[in-house]
Amino acid sequence: MTDASLPTNWFSRLAHPGAFLSWSRGWVLPASLLTIMLFAVGLWYALFNSPADYQMGETVRIMYIHVPNAWLSQMVYGLMAVSAIGSLVWRHPMADVSMKAAAPLGAAFTGLALFTGSLWGRPTWGTYWEWDGRMTSTLVLFLMYLGLVALWRTFEGQSRGTRIIAVFTLVGSLNIPIIKFSVDWWNTLHQPASVLRAGGPRMPGEILTPLLVMMLAFTVLFFTLHLVAMRTEILRHRANNLERRHVSARGASAARVKS
């Protein structure tokens, strides 16, 4: 076996933490710049270059930040669920890192979805909150994210904990289709699907454009943060391992001196 040589096969480059660290370094700056550009264009459209809605007026502009956050809250959980499968089935080292890095980010975006949705609901429906299917299941999702973040902190550095967290993540993923289809299954204030639906989106172009640009901006933002957070997690593992080895080596040499 060659020493210290990084794997060349593309899948191994993805899986090996050292290889990941090496190739991902060059992506951080371009991803950050792309995020900034997308937000600049998206905000220009959202705030200055799109019309008011004929029914809800200017408050439609809240949709341009609420929907991306709601989309991210579900997409990030989906990513964590896929990572959980990778962790449980293949013991993929990067799968654990991906799950852990995504959890606090997903929690933040879900919190923002609830916050912006609430501020949109007050002028549109007359209420900040309603215990309907969509809002309740999204609140449950937020609490799940917080629970997973707490679990990661509890099991810091224990590989057994990773398996438990992966199982919890997968069980919780049952909530995602509930959120998505709640607006079809149950009576709700929340409007039904208007973008990701059979038959395509049913919004006019001037409203759809800022929405899609902002969705892309938030998505690229998440992947940029996720990339940096995964790199940080690998570095944290390395530092922990080095400290642990150093402490045990000192302990062993002290024991030799004593005897």
Binding site: G18, G57, E58, T59, T232, L235, A239, R245, H246
Partner: protein, 61 residues
């Protein structure tokens, strides 16, 4: 000033709140990355490095 209609305060607070949380997320992520890099650099200064790290490959990049 742009006219955001009679419910402008909701629009403004949505955008401000989102901007604040996103800024905190970015700051926290960047701070975490810097902290771990610094930790590894300190360990290397103390002569504690990875078995696979050669002098030219500092192992923390």
């Amino acid at each position: 000033m742009i006219d955001f209609g009679p419910h402008a305060v909701f629009i403004i607070w949505s955008y401000l709140g989102t901007a604040l949380v996103v800024a905190l997320l970015i700051g926290w992520t960047a701070y975490g990355a810097r902290t771990q890099k610094k930790r590894l650099a300190d360990l290397q200064k103390r002569g504690i490095s990875r078995r696979s790290a050669s002098p030219s490959n500092s192992g923390d990049r």
